[in-house]
């Protein structure tokens, strides 16, 4: 009951935030210089064509009237037409979002597993050469932008060693599977095409690892720090004095509370996959981030607002899930009690 109340309350706040976000993005997109209709049709298009498109997009109307038309359409699932792709924005999102989601999922798996494992190893071997090595790698991972990793991996694995593909979602000569989820690995598994599944995984590997490096390093560091901090707590000393094996202390009593900050950061990193546009560009990954970036560069008003709203909703959902998971991990949060410390 408490959980349901919590979710409803968070949803209500989130809707308010999303409305505010839509107003902000809508206004910003229209304030940026440039005539979107002229940009879309080119400099030589007759003026009457440009004017016709402007009227279709209500660009001659006051801003609040334009917002009204947009909101009215959005509530009916019509996000307008994209000036770049020349088709419905809702259709574009349906087309490109699964590619970004698929990439984000595998990135999330990699950064979660590897980040936590590295953090645990580092924390367990606190102040040893293992700890120091992991910390150095983590620092490098945190300060290096994902696109630098992308270029580096393409050079090493694509250009020099030539062992992994560097472009697109599926192997060159292959027909994609029937579209069920839009995520090719999942669709391949559902249709039993394991060759395609592994072929597609190969294509996912480099972009996913590029995106995961930064967040993985951050999670490793946070896990390591929290773990190291909790290891010096009284209850751990008590467990050791009772003769409990280190492995049991680590995995049964230390890991759960140490993961709470990691999971919070993990969720933020996952939701921030909207920044993947440069990586998507490098790997010619047809995802929503790249679509959104092209929309912004070409002043595609409807697409710009829609992409930001999609990532806003994603952020909102992920944050709610994180709060629930953290509540599960830490009963004090769930029960609303304060820590004794």
């Amino acid at each position: 009951m408490e959980t349901i109340k919590f979710i409803v309350k968070r949803l209500a706040y989130s809707i308010l935030v999303l409305v505010g976000l839509s107003v902000l993005m809508f206004s910003i997109a229209r304030v940026i210089p440039g005539n979107p209709a002229r940009m879309a049709l080119g400099p030589r298009a007759p003026e009457w064509t440009v004017q016709k498109l402007r009227e279709e997009m209500h660009l001659e109307d006051p801003l609040y009237i334009q917002y009204y038309y947009w909101l009215k359409g959005a509530l009916h699932g019509d996000l307008g037409m994209s000036l770049v792709t020349r088709r419905s924005v809702a259709y574009d999102i349906k087309e490109f979002f699964p590619a970004s989601l698929e990439l984000a999922l595998y990135t999330g798996i990699f950064m979660g597993i590897v980040g936590i494992v590295l953090g645990v190893i580092s924390g367990w071997h606190n102040n040893t050469w293992i700890d120091n090595s992991v910390r150095i790698v983590s620092y490098i991972g945190i300060i290096t932008p994902s696109f630098v990793f992308a270029i580096f991996f393409v050079l090493i694995f694509g250009y020099i060693l030539q062992v992994l593909p560097t472009m697109g979602r599926i192997p060159l000569s292959v027909t994609p599977p029937p579209r069920i989820t839009g995520m090719i690995t999942f669709d391949a598994l559902i249709t039993g095409n394991f060759a395609l599944f592994f072929g597609t995984l190969k294509h996912l590997l480099l972009p996913a690892i590029s995106l995961a490096m930064g967040p993985m390093s951050q999670e490793a560091r946070i896990t390591r720090t929290t773990l190291a901090g909790n290891m010096s707590k009284d209850y751990v000393a008590a467990e050791r004095s009772c003769g409990l094996p280190e492995r049991t202390i680590m995995f049964k009593y230390l890991l759960k509370p140490s993961l709470i900050p990691t999971i919070s950061i993990y969720a933020l990193d996952f939701a921030a996959m909207g920044n993947a546009f440069v990586v998507e560009l490098i790997f010619n990954w047809p995802g929503l981030s790249r679509y959104g970036m092209n929309a912004m560069l070409r002043k595609d008003l409807n697409a710009t607002v829609a992409v930001v709203m999609v990532y806003g909703i994603l952020f909102m959902v992920v944050n709610i899930i994180v709060d629930l998971v953290v509540g599960f991990l830490d009963p004090r949060i769930r029960l609303g009690t304060k820590s004794r410390e």
Partner: protein, 543 residues
């Protein structure tokens, strides 16, 4: 070996085995290239580089340009123009089939022109204000009625592609913005083709790639035949990322690169074994556009001083192998005048001109604002060189990095246009009139194509008169006069004639473009019907 190490090794083995499992590799003649996106394959919408290439593969025009840009019979086997230049009649070749098997007739041509001019996008600007009516006088005869004579009409028709009327009509969605024609099939033609060309759309993954497959039943025109070694499939990738292009060229996963790579990227590509660089002209030219209605560039002597002060030798080094421009029209374009003055750096002449300028005594009061395109890195080098050169004659220059969106925006109004803007322009039909029209006529003033703001009715009249002159010799003589007048006025600095550059797999492919013999017209330069791919040589390289 402890348990963890054993587990790790076994996991690596399993992962390695699984990752070696995958679908079979590529076979057949495949031609893959990279290109800037988006690509529009609707002939009434697309007009940029990648769209133009796609269109010539999927559709047929009425006539086809040869290497000298002369029209060759294609869908039209012959044609004639009336004495007054306003009626053009084309006699079609019977038996040409669209990809769906139906025959191409005059009705399809009428429909295509009506559709193009109604939608008003893409290359419609070449016809919308000129073609009053298209008539299918019989099954294989089509007549275009023009409002006024337009001598380059044949050249403009290189941009007119024929769609299958029945197929488009069957895929029209109503209601739409075009009345009873609904959406005019625009939704359908976004990702499908309705053409008769040598290739057909196999798959169009928007923002990722366009895959075209050979039309096995292509009707084979006399001039533009599909050679027996032409690719079976053509794939255009929507990326220009240098590292991706370089990796794919090295792995032989790409046959040619786009033209947007930097000089450094081309140098790196050239070093790959078996990869060469080709370059040829398609009539592009770089200009510095001088605002003729804003101080101090509103003074002719000031403008000429700038023209004499610029270091063209250094300038051309920013565009390797590209020749310095001579006048407003590239020399490769029919109708270009080869006798025009070509400026060179001469500070004495620059000072002579500057001293005649009304701004000479107040140079410190008037500084030039030079806007360079933030999306095109080479323009910064040009801006810096310009600033340095002008300092030698006492002219202050303020260079401003300007995003493309802002350039388009500010060029729409006279007072917001800067003193100097830099642009690269190409002709839309293959003769000098195209650039003389698009660069300097009054209706292009509020667009990015003209920062000069010439607004000269006399000039407009001269250009219109030339374009109405059916006799080519006479017309070219008029172009020549106009070009000389432009030189006298000095509204622009004519920088370089840009060459299209591509990296390509020289070991296993060949074609006119890769021998520097391309048809010098955007889209036609990379027509796959003339390209030869040898997969057996590619296989040798991959061993």
């Amino acid at each position: 070996m402890n348990k963890i190490t054993k587990t790790l090794l076994i996991s690596l083995f399993i992962v390695g085995t699984l990752f070696s499992w995958g679908p079979a590799g590529v076979s057949g003649r495949l031609l893959r290239g990279t290109w800037a996106w988006p690509t529009y394959i609707d002939p009434a919408v697309g007009s940029d580089f990648s769209s133009s290439i796609a269109l010539i593969h999927l559709y047929d025009p009425l006539i086809y340009p040869d290497r000298e840009m002369n029209p060759q019979p294609h869908v039209a086997k012959s044609w004639e123009v009336s004495a007054d230049g306003k009626t053009w009649t084309f006699y079609l070749r019977p038996g040409i089939k669209f990809h769906n098997g139906s025959e191409l007739t005059a009705q399809d041509i009428k429909f295509s022109m009506d559709r193009l001019t109604t939608i008003g996008e893409g290359y419609a600007f070449l016809f919308a204000e000129r073609v009053t009516n298209t008539e299918a006088s019989d099954k294989y005869t089509v007549v275009f009625h023009l409002k006024e004579p337009f001598a380059p009409f044949l050249g403009a028709l290189y941009r007119f592609f024929i769609v299958n009327k029945d197929l488009v009509m069957a895929n029209i969605k109503r209601p739409g913005p075009y009345g009873e024609m609904g959406n005019y099939g625009k939704q359908y033609l976004l990702t499908h083709d309705a053409g008769s060309g040598p290739y057909m759309v196999k798959k169009f993954a928007f923002e990722e790639y366009l895959l075209m497959t050979k039309n096995q039943n292509y009707w084979q025109p006399e001039y533009a035949q599909v050679n027996p070694f032409a690719p079976d499939e053509v794939k255009m990738y929507g990326t220009t990322e240098p590292i991706t292009v370089r990796t794919m060229m090295a792995r032989r996963e790409l046959e040619f690169s786009d033209t947007w790579q930097s000089e450094e990227a081309f140098e790196a590509l050239d070093k790959i074994k078996g990869v060469d660089i080709t370059q040829y002209s398609t009539g592009n030219e770089w200009y510095l556009m001088l605002h003729t209605r804003k101080a101090p560039t509103d003074c002719i002597h000031f403008r000429k001083a700038i023209a004499w002060a610029l270091d063209y030798k250094t300038l051309t080094k920013f565009f390797p192998d590209c020749p310095q421009a001579r006048g407003p029209v590239p020399q490769t374009l029919p109708g270009a005048d080869p006798t025009l003055l070509q400026y060179h750096r001469d500070l004495d002449k620059a000072m002579t001109e500057l001293k005649q300028s009304k701004y000479y005594e107040q140079l410190e009061k008037y500084s030039l604002e030079f806007h360079w395109n933030g999306d095109v890195p080479v323009t910064e080098k040009v801006a810096l060189l310009f600033m340095s050169n002008m300092a030698d004659i006492g002219i202050n220059v303020k260079i401003v990095k300007t995003p493309w969106l802002s350039i388009v925006e500010e060029s729409a109004r006279m007072h917001t246009s800067p003193n100097i803007a830099i642009i690269n322009d190409a002709p839309q039909y293959p003769e000098a009139g195209s650039l003389l029209e698009s660069r300097y006529k009054s209706d292009s003033a509020p667009t990015w194509e003209q920062n000069e703001w010439l607004l000269d009715p006399e000039y407009d009249t001269m250009v219109d008169d030339a374009l109405k002159t059916i006799d080519q010799k006479e017309r070219f003589a008029k172009y020549s006069k106009i070009q000389h007048d432009i030189m006298d006025l000095c509204p622009s600095i004519f920088m370089v004639e840009l060459l299209m550059k591509h990296a390509y797999q020289a070991t296993y492919m060949d074609g006119p473009a890769f021998r520097g013999e391309a048809t010098p017209f955007m889209g036609y330069d990379l027509d796959s019907r003339f390209i030869k791919v040898y997969p057996e040589k590619q296989a040798e390289l991959l061993k």
